[in-house]
Symmetry: C2
Subunit: 301 residues, 2 copies
């Protein structure tokens, strides 16, 4: 006899195949449905994601401070396994690393979404807080993505399923985007609204000339492409926003992307800022999102 966990039946509204699982192992998170996920994660309202485990921890600590939750001297403990992703839970916030690139981010999107549905969480939102190359935008400026295009400047994310291409709409949640822009205009954080271009590489797909391989394009062709992107509204380039938009749209989860620019690609390819500058850039984006969460949760600063 197959034992059906009640959480798995709730999830089955999204993916009917999950009812066949006695236990769902969220392999990359190191969590599974034999655990008491509702008591661990039932109150989550925000999943805030960034590239690295370090940034996930830093954001979790800043979120705890903002929410008035005390952080032990030895730091916060991640939940689950940390081999590939790191997940921190602070009040109604999950702070999570998604690694670099859309394939890496897609795994954690699937698994954290199943996690929250099994936990019975409702009305949660996903916000990617990252770094990016600015396009006509100075280092330190925060870009709030209004929409997302792929490396061909189309508003889609192409995936291959059973050998066939499928193009998914990358549109973000316009209400959440507007709320972030309103919050930015009320603060001293300098923010720009614009299109984000998501690519599958840091070097050639972003037109860099400083990779290991001899580029198939010239400096002039590179600058023409960056200028074309700028003219079409692109204000930053990074490697995950398109999957955040596409996945969340399909899953019915409001999503936004907030990235600090760490260089202006119209000026060059190399990231030459100091560690302190990079931390400040990253903090600008994090503080903007914390301002939004504070406002939505009716916290006073």
């Amino acid at each position: 006899m197959s034992i059906k966990h009640p959480e798995i039946e709730r999830e089955s509204q999204q993916n009917p195949h999950l009812v066949n699982l006695e236990v769902d192992y969220l392999y990359h998170l190191g969590l599974d449905t034999s655990m008491d996920l509702p008591s661990m994660f039932g109150d989550v309202k925000y999943v805030c994601m960034g590239g690295s485990p370090e940034r996930a921890e830093q954001f979790a600590i800043k979120a705890a401070e903002r929410l008035g939750i005390s952080v032990p001297e030895e730091g916060l403990e991640p939940v689950g396994k940390t081999e590939r992703y790191s997940l921190y839970k602070v009040g109604p916030i999950i702070s999570l690393s998604h690694g670099i690139g859309m394939p890496s981010a897609s795994i954690v999107l699937h698994e954290v979404t199943k996690l929250l549905r099994y936990a019975g969480s409702t009305d949660f939102k996903y916000i990617r807080i990252g770094t990016s190359g600015g396009v006509g935008v100075d280092p330190g400026e925060v870009v709030v993505s209004t929409n997302v295009v792929d490396g061909k400047l189309n508003p889609v994310h192409e995936v291959v399923e059973l050998g066939k291409s499928v193009e998914l709409d990358t549109a973000l949640d316009s209400n959440l985007v507007q709320s972030l822009l309103t919050i930015a205009s009320e603060s001293d954080i300098s923010a720009t609204a614009g299109t984000t271009m998501s690519t599958d590489s840091f070097y050639a797909a972003q037109g860099r000339l400083d990779g290991a391989l001899n580029p198939r394009y010239t400096e002039t062709e590179k600058m023409d492409f960056l200028q074309l992107a700028y003219d079409k509204g692109v204000r930053n380039i990074e490697m995950e926003a398109a999957i955040i938009g596409a996945f969340c749209r399909e899953a019915g989860i409001p999503a936004a992307v907030v990235c600090a620019a760490i260089l202006n690609r119209l000026d060059g390819d190399q990231v030459g800022s100091t560690i302190e500058e990079l931390e400040q850039f990253s903090d600008n984006a994090q503080q903007l999102v914390l301002n939004l969460i504070s406002k939505e949760l009716n916290l006073t600063d």
Copy 2:
């Protein structure tokens, strides 16, 4: 006056644009050409790569034991920054994490290749040592990739450069593949030669039915696709081999991919093995590569 580092001029044979850089910041590795890279990395002959920082460290420790290099009690120190990738240097071996997926791996391929060229290393090889879903192959079996196909079962890796698609040949180094298969046949590690399919997601691109979203395909369509892949010679599915093949071919670096199967996808989607079993599976692939390196370096076991 622009100061040209001699290392940058050597590298310029591959990418002429690099001569314009006074210092090349290998941003994601946290290393740059103002450091004495030749004394740090000039003797490297093998770059062994896996997904996670933990596995990079474990492999480095096993490599040190094999090479008779003592490991301090507190463990090995990574070189450079560890926010996104972890790099260990043990004798002529770099053990490196590449994260999950081809976009993540592509960054580290570019940067470690520039690193080795700046260091003046010669005749180096790249070997990915990973885990994978077996196709008609049991958990624990090591698959030595003879060739690599993408999610559409074509032997190419598609990249987008300045908005245009480019298809790159994913062929691996046949001599290195043959050496690995010979080593396997001389050991008690059970290994299979076969085609590896590299995909851009763990869920839909690999035909899984246990993601968060309702699949656009049925159980029957999934099994038909996996059987088709098997019939075309595919013996495992993972997320990085195609970029290893494509990048290394273009860079002129011999490359191979050696992955343990952690489940047989013809039997299901979920990874249900214990941590101990997964470590043993991973160790099988690592020992095979260490056997190859020992033989090539004329070490006795």
